[in-house]
């Protein structure tokens, strides 16, 4: 029986990269959105520019489930290389749209799905002679076909094309023509619409559609970053490039066209973080964007910044590791390497936003935190958030907000005779005062070094002075616990002994999984951790429950290890739920894994039976 579903299904496009499919596929997602139906698109792409398989998955969900779902209801199979796998991935009762120009043997299909053959190449070749046009318009033609098959409002697609080619009438007309070629062919030759339909709704509201990397870069613009140093690495490159783009629009002096920002594409990640540390030491707000391998390269400098107490903001767009891992696949896999980055005793502040909107907020806040705490702050996103368009609440900014530059001693304070010790804890919060270079002719200068020093920044190798400083750094980290974004707790309707801790891009899948578990009568209290060091509420949440599931997207349960280590929790009480194959975690996975555990926990343990 073919699947019948309105506004709740998954379309997957299988393409060859470099074929121009990406923009057509994105048009499809946007058109659904314009019809008032939430979508969650995801790129699944190779580390390659042309010729390898690439997929674009669009989850259409009026209920607003934005996590990956798993499974495909409609496969648009445009890549012969991946045909077998693509056909196998269709849900029973699903649909397959393919280019029927060349006949395919019957064995290549399944009989539990609906096969929709459209002679795309034939239509294309009839209409166009230029090879590039044939390739590009083929994508638009299947888009037109989809509009008819899914009963979409073709006007919305036309409007989107018009916006895209504003002022380029010829291109608009050509694309519109191709769109109708596909649509008309379906309308004349086959039954339509199919069982899957997009019906106009009002479920999008004022939400925006933005990539996490772009939102992060905007956070840096609003947060007052003036210096960005970076080295190209997937999936973070588009963050630095977005910063350049936003700055070119928002940060150029109108009168003389001069830039209120400086971006350096450095020779490597070592230089990137070095530039950030140099700029921050000198009082500018600076950041870098990188991924796991870059974090590995920055380790020595991060230790220096921790010990010399220099602010730095690092956006880590995580990908699968180790080594070069799967550069174009998502994971939450740098938690430990960032939390304890570098040699010696170090601990760093990490922020875990869940989506682009929160990435914007945390991106801006990271600069306040770095200045306040005089230490590196990591904004931990991943490929899933960074490189996919995500529907999220609009970005907001309070115009009365002032940047918190932290404890900076001014020339006036020095002149007034205020005692300045660079590493002197005057307020008991572990945070000392600093001065910017060039502040005062005779007061307030100091020599910054990675080697040990006393409270007045004078070189010393005395054990007690070193230990005193290390203790103060711990006090500072304690202070950080109440400054970083707090965890968010949501309790089940009924009291429960079980809880779940999760963070970052797992969020939408987790929300949906909770609904699925509740249908089965399984209740869980939730805690979304949003930062490290952990607020005391993390420990109390764990104390309030018998067992806690810790859901994360890596093999080694890195957040769980961090909780065990930092909160002194018995590891037995923290049950790891781990997803690490490079695909985004799904609600189905979480619900199944937790569900099985909960079922197992209901069985009376053996020792209780014997005793």
């Amino acid at each position: 029986m073919p699947i019948q579903s309105v506004n709740d299904f998954v379309v997957r496009f299988a393409n060859v990269n470099g074929s121009g499919s990406a923009s057509a596929n994105e048009l499809f997602a946007r058109a659904v959105l314009r019809m008032g139906v939430p979508v969650a698109p995801r790129n699944i792409f190779p580390s390659n520019i042309q010729g390898l398989p690439t997929w674009y998955e669009v989850r259409i969900s009026q209920a607003g489930h934005l996590g990956a779902r798993g499974g495909t209801d409609l496969m648009v199979a445009m890549n012969p290389q991946t045909w077998d796998k693509d056909v196998a991935g269709i849900e029973p009762g699903g649909y397959l749209l393919y280019d029927s120009t060349k006949p395919m043997p019957k064995t290549k299909f399944r009989d539990d799905i609906t096969v929709i053959g459209i002679p795309l190449t034939a239509i294309c070749n009839r209409e166009y002679s230029d090879p590039r046009q044939r390739q590009l318009f083929k994508n638009i033609i299947y888009l037109g076909a989809l509009a008819a098959l899914l009963d979409m409002d073709v006007g919305e697609i036309e409007k989107l094309i018009a916006e895209q080619y504003k002022g380029k009438e010829k291109l608009f007309d050509a694309n519109k023509h191709a769109l109708h070629l596909g649509r008309d062919w379906v309308m004349m030759n086959m039954e339509h619409p199919i069982g899957l339909r997009v019906k106009r709704a009002d479920a999008v509201g004022e939400r925006i559609f933005i990539e996490g990397n772009s939102a992060a870069a905007l956070g840096a613009v609003y947060g007052g970053a003036t210096v960005c140093a970076w080295y190209p690495i997937t999936p973070s490159s588009s963050l630095a490039e977005a910063f350049i783009r936003h700055c070119n629009r928002l940060r150029v002096e109108r009168a003389n066209k001069q830039n209120k920002f400086a971006v350096v594409q450095a020779e490597d990640e070592l230089a990137s973080i070095g530039i950030v540390i140099g700029a921050s030491w000198n009082g500018a707000r600076a950041f870098t964007a990188t991924s796991g391998p870059g974090i590995s390269l920055m380790q020595e400098f991060l230790g220096l910044a921790y010990f010399a107490e220099i602010p730095a903001v690092v956006f880590d767009v995580q990908r699968a590791g180790p080594s070069t891992g799967m550069p174009t696949r998502t994971q939450q896999t740098d938690i430990i390497s960032c939390a304890y980055a570098s040699h010696g005793d170090t601990k760093h502040v990490l922020l875990f936003p869940e989506d682009p909107a929160e990435t914007f907020d945390f991106g801006a806040t990271a600069f306040d935190l770095a200045d306040r705490l005089q230490t590196p702050v990591f904004v931990m996103i991943d490929l899933d958030i960074g490189m996919n368009h995500r529907l999220c609440r609009p970005l907001t900014w309070d115009d009365s907000r002032k940047y918190d530059r932290g404890k900076v001693m001014t020339a006036a304070a020095l002149e007034a005779g205020k005692d300045f010790g660079r590493y002197l804890d005057v307020d008991g919060d572990g945070i000392p005062y600093r001065t910017y270079p060039g502040t005062h002719p005779t007061k307030g200068s100091f020599f910054t070094r990675g080697t040990s020093r006393d409270r007045y920044a004078r070189y010393t190798e005395e054990g007690p002075a070193y230990a005193d400083n290390m203790q103060r750094l711990l006090r500072k980290f304690e202070t950080a616990k109440d400054l970083v974004p707090r965890p968010l707790q949501a309790n089940a309707d009924k009291p429960t002994k079980y809880g779940v801790i999760y963070f970052g891009s797992t969020s939408p899948a987790m929300d949906e999984a909770i609904e699925m578990l509740e249908v089965n009568g399984q209740c869980l209290d939730r805690l979304r951790v949003r930062a490290f060091p952990f607020h005391s509420s993390v420990t109390s949440f764990i104390a309030e429950h018998d067992f806690i599931f810790v859901v994360e997207q890596n093999r080694d349960a890195q957040l769980r290890s961090l909780i065990v280590n930092e909160c002194g929790i018995d590891p037995v009480r923290l049950v790891p739920i781990l997803h690490y194959d490079g695909t985004p975690i799904t609600a189905r996975f979480i619900a199944r894994a937790i569900g099985e555990h909960l079922d197992a926990l209901k069985i009376t343990p053996l020792r209780k039976v014997v005793s």
């Binding site: 001069q258 830039n259 070592l270 530039i275 140099g278 200068s445």
Partner: protein, 351 residues
């Protein structure tokens, strides 16, 4: 090594500069390097240069990497902020600092291990970018703090104190700086303060990447027979091509030199270098000829010193990036934050 605290009193009639400062105002802590170390002579030359230029000490940021040479910023300009950063990474830290505040003077101090071995990449890229700085390499061809291993600038065939012959080719930092586009390149000798001080002054005044390779013998590990970085060897093989007699911010009214032997080089800010030519053929404005000349003499075992290349209208990283005149670190939310209205417009475009 000494732990003596430097006495603060000084002779009441010490000469003062335009700011009313004496030499003592440009000094730092007492050096902890070995007695007779070439690096201490360079420190003295930096102090002299800053004194003569009447620089406000706190307007200088002195940044170094790791090693004997990188310790020296603690020994001069005690009222300047200093940053003893990470081994081989001074150039990136300095680049960042420079981006944050274009109004300060940036003095990068490094050694041959720091700049030619572990930090060769960063050295190369900050030269390429034209970071406005004076980059001083205190070059002794040896690792001092770890006791006498060869560095990457040790000449092939030179002998270590333990009697080992170096079989690796030497990296010529002057040659690299020239090739990489440094707009001011000089080489000098720690033992020749008369030559070194004006070169440091000119480098500080230069806008753009100014590189000075200062041969600075290591008295503890590289001052023996068989070393090509010993005091005796450098004195014997020093081939000075010119001599900077003086510098001023005003064109000289009267120059008393034989015709053809002195060239006036005006820098972008109006300062003038009076370059006394020791080698009449040598042209400080010809990058390729400078590369050729220094390489040719190096193959003969000669060490060419002097101002080797200067580009009068050099640009720096800030001009490449077209940054505003105000230091970036002086901008606040008013200048930097586009505000909620811009964000609302952006939100609208994302639907």
């Amino acid at each position: 090594m000494t732990y003596v605290v430097k006495p603060k009193f000084h002779h009441p009639e010490l000469p003062k500069n335009e700011l009313g400062y004496t030499h003592r105002d440009y000094e730092g802590k007492i050096s902890t390097l070995c007695a007779g170390c070439g690096h201490d002579s360079i420190t003295a030359s930096i102090i002299e240069a800053c004194f003569e230029l009447s620089i406000e000490p706190h307007r200088v940021a002195k940044i170094s990497g790791i090693g004997c040479s990188s310790k020296t910023p603690d020994y001069f300009l005690g009222n300047s902020h200093g940053f003893n950063s990470v081994h081989g990474r001074m150039p990136s830290v300095l680049t960042g600092a420079n981006l944050a505040n274009r109004d300060l003077i940036y003095l990068g101090v490094s050694g041959d291990g720091d700049s030619a071995s572990i930090g060769l990449g960063q050295f190369a890229h900050c030269m390429r970018r034209g970071v406005n700085m004076a980059y001083v390499v205190e070059n002794n061809g040896v690792y001092g703090l770890t006791k006498g291993q060869f560095s990457a600038t040790a000449d092939r065939g030179s002998k270590s104190k333990r009697g080992v012959t170096n079989t690796d080719n030497a990296i010529d930092m002057v040659g690299l700086a020239l090739q990489l586009g440094a707009s001011f390149v000089a080489r000098s000798f720690s033992g020749d303060k008369k030559q070194l001080v004006p070169i440091i002054k000119a480098a500080i005044e230069h806008r753009g990447a100014a590189f000075i390779d200062v041969i600075s013998p290591c008295v503890a590990f590289n001052n023996h027979t068989g070393s090509t970085k010993s005091f005796d060897y450098v004195r014997e093989h020093n081939e000075a091509v010119n001599f900077l007699d003086f510098m001023t911010t005003r064109p000289p009214i009267h120059v008393d030199y034989a015709p053809g032997t002195v060239e006036m080089v005006e820098q972008h800010d109006g300062t003038v270098l009076a370059l006394r030519k020791l080698n009449a053929e040598y042209d400080v404005h010809d990058r390729l000829a400078a590369m050729n000349f220094t390489a040719h003499h190096a193959s003969q075992g000669q060490i060419v010193t002097g101002l080797l290349y200067v580009e009068q209208d050099a640009a720096d990283l800030h001009s490449h990036l077209n940054t505003v005149e105000a230091p970036l670190n002086s901008l606040g939310e008013k200048e930097l934050c586009p505000g909620s209205a811009a964000l609302d417009a952006l939100n609208a475009s994302l639907r």
